[in-house]
Subunit: 183 residues, 2 copies
DNA sequence: CAGTCCATGTAAGTAGTTACATGATTGC
DNA sequence: GCAATCATGTAACTACTTACATGGACTG
């Protein structure tokens, strides 16, 4: 998966591993994240596979940078991946639900403490997403290229899902906290 | 993680790898799934680590079964894990959002086809969860042990989150389908 | 002069997936 | 006879995480 994400970003412009890490953190981070170690090793592998090329520039004063550029083959691969729709359910992994499922032996206080911390975490995330949405809406007004305007519709859509998810989580946490309090 | 799930189930009663696979599929499956290969290898490792013991019974007529039983050490480990609350955000991985994020170059038809299939998938999941909830509510009425009644509150809570998640997903899919249609 | 940002990498380990492999029983 | 269910495992691989490793520039 991380390959396609990197190709997706490099399809806009050449970037370094560091740039890609930041791009991931600031945009796709809420639905797919990666450590820099994985990004750097994957980029190297992708270069071997002919999906990207790299230019190493020794920085005078600044740090050295290795800039990656997508190849025709890389574009092709991204395009093929995007054209084959996802027709199966993807599996979700939710550690908190695992914990709650087996919480019969725990005290109510212990569970409530955990749920309350989680509520704070998800409240913070929702606030972040709202801020990101506002920033994006402002930027969208003055986008130069119509092609990027189209892209921004999809970026916004993923953010909206992020917000719906956090809202659903918060509602559920409140409901569950109430349930546990009344036990 | 899978270790704790297996311990969680074995904490109720001794079970075989096969039983555990089914238990996972029918209950925790919607928030954590595992292949049988991982379950069998993990159980073997857990036996080496002293968290479980196994009894092999050659079946006459029936297939052979290896039944695993949790040890005191296993119970202790489960208990410690449950007592240390989750205080960090867990990372979400949503392939569909990755795809949508990079869908600027795709045709509206291609995107709509994918979103529509996804809507069907999530509608089906929601229906499944509703059915499971009804079954669980009926079972909960005639549960023998009060301790299992307490457990069932938490099982129900995880199901409720599943339903909220699917509902949020469906609402978002409908919204996004409308957005793309109006492009 | 301590901490953060820029910038790149490797090594080792854990977790998870896919494929291979076997074989009996039950129901249609 | 064919498919599904019961039942257990191994091997190979891919993906992901954690830790180690370095070093200059800028900021307070």
């Amino acid at each position: 998966m991380i390959q396609y994400i990197l190709l997706g970003f490099l399809n806009y412009q050449p970037m370094t591993g560091y740039d890609l890490k930041r791009a991931l953190d600031h945009s796709t981070g809420h639905f797919w994240h990666a450590y820099h170690s994985q990004i750097y090793t994957t980029l190297r592998q992708m270069e071997k596979d002919g999906l990207v090329t790299s230019q190493f520039v020794m920085g005078e004063g600044q740090p050295d940078r290795r800039t990656y550029t997508i190849t025709e083959q890389g574009r092709e691969m991204l395009s093929v991946w995007l054209s084959r729709p996802l027709t199966e359910a993807v599996s979700v992994k939710e550690e908190l639900l695992v914990r709650l499922f087996f919480s019969g032996q725990r005290s109510n206080e212990s569970i409530l403490a955990e749920l309350t911390v989680q509520r704070e975490i998800h409240q913070q995330k929702l606030a972040e997403y709202r801020k990101m949405q506002q920033e994006m809406e402002e930027q969208a007004k003055c986008l130069p290229l119509p092609s990027l305007q189209r892209d921004s519709v999809f970026w916004m859509a993923t953010l909206k899902m992020g917000m719906r998810y956090e809202q659903a989580y918060l509602d559920w946490l409140s409901e569950t906290i109430q349930t546990v309090q009344s036990l």
